[in-house]
Subunit: 251 residues, 2 copies
């Protein structure tokens, strides 16, 4: 299978690496920024261009791997592509692509990806398409780089994107708060890392509802009051503590 | 080293197993519930008693491994122990033990522990004591079962306990919400598990502040509005989404 990747950011880079490692032929990297395109193309050993150049016409599929918000301007650049095309954005409907091709779809890696990653984590891919031919093509591509491939329509994908915000963005923000609190209070955040990893890893075994512990879960108002007094210099974190504690108590 | 463990719950069980595996002699399990005491004692191959029995007088140290809220009644039962004693509670000052011994301390495993665990995760232990002799004894015991041992006084330990609530209890609650949302909306929560694990594991490498992504971090109001509409049937989760999004935007 031959692929052109439009984009040179985190998702484009990680997908490009995985494709090359798994015998998918990446023909060309296209990026608004020619230096970024060159860097990734050099790594993947392929051609590159900015938006003034031409898309290689020999690809089986064109993957637009740019951020959800950048997608619309990119689509306007690409127009009139008579080949299968897919975007990688969790929150964007597939039919934003219908103006550029009559064969379009989504190739959404449900993972938080960074160029700097040395080890690429397991990467579920959610696919969807306008037609059976494109869906099959996306499926063939997805199973080359992932062993967790599911078909999910726009609505299902957007719902999983909401859930992903809870388990990734919001969770990471709680880590940020904990780290910042530890720094300000002169205690060692590192000592919490085994707990952070354990909290996540045991999800693999069983439902998180089995693992809810702590003062909120046991209605321990004495400890909660003590914690609120320890947060008194941080009104925003204190408010979040109250909100989350109430939410656990109501669950 | 010889130890008597008071308690038979999750913390007592996991600490007892680790001690026995690491050549610490557990002499006796004491529990209010004689059946629970017997179960754990059978597993650890030691004596047991309920509160009507006698504490084995040959121990070097007595570890009261009961929940933070249960500690005070247990302390009342044990009184007049003229041996080093320590509790395992993150949020309780060490001097709740001073009425029962003049050598007392804390032996706090900063981890979420369950009897059912097949693999015991890395277990940082925070220790503190009334005197150098007891501190040294607790240190000797701690390094037998953990390679991450730190001295932390009451205030430091309580602050880490607050931070632990953020990274464990609150994070787990976000997982619970995500799972429940997926179930109600008919999408597959399992597909989020690699993301959950990745989000936690990369903390080992670098600060969480480097990893904040998503619509709130990039001020993507369009996606946030879409997510709020997908949460409209769940006013409590929607409110938490707003609170956490605002907190990320203010960070």
């Amino acid at each position: 299978m031959k692929v052109v990747i439009i984009g040179s950011g985190n998702v484009a880079t990680v997908l490009g690496r995985l494709m090359v490692q798994n015998d998918v032929e990446v023909l060309q990297i296209i990026s608004r920024n020619i230096d970024h395109a060159a860097n990734l193309a050099n790594e993947l050993n392929c051609k590159y261009s900015d938006y003034n150049g031409l898309l290689d016409a020999n690809a089986d599929i064109y993957i637009i791997a740019v951020s959800d918000t950048a997608l619309t301007p990119h689509v306007e650049f690409i127009k009139n592509l008579n080949k299968p095309v897919a975007h990688t954005a969790g929150s964007v409907p597939k039919d934003v692509l219908k103006t550029i091709s009559n064969q379009y779809g989504v190739f959404y890696p449900l993972q938080s990806l960074r160029k700097e990653m040395k080890i690429i984590p397991p990467l579920p891919i959610l696919i969807d398409a306008s037609d059976a031919f494109t869906l099959d093509l996306l499926q063939q591509l997805a199973i080359k780089i992932s062993d967790q491939v599911q078909v999910a329509n726009d609505e299902q994908r957007q719902k999983l994107h909401v859930a992903a915000v809870f388990v990734n963005n919001f969770t990471n923000h709680l880590y940020v708060i904990a780290e910042s609190y530890c720094q300000k209070e002169g205690v060692d955040f590192n000592v919490l890392k085994p707990l952070i990893i354990e909290t996540a890893q045991r999800m693999a075994e069983s439902s998180p509802s089995k693992w809810q512990t702590g003062p909120a879960a046991r209605n321990d108002l004495f400890t909660i009051e003590k914690h609120l007094s320890l947060l008194q210099n941080y009104p925003e974190w204190k408010e979040l503590y109250v909100n989350l504690t109430n939410s656990i108590m109501d669950a």
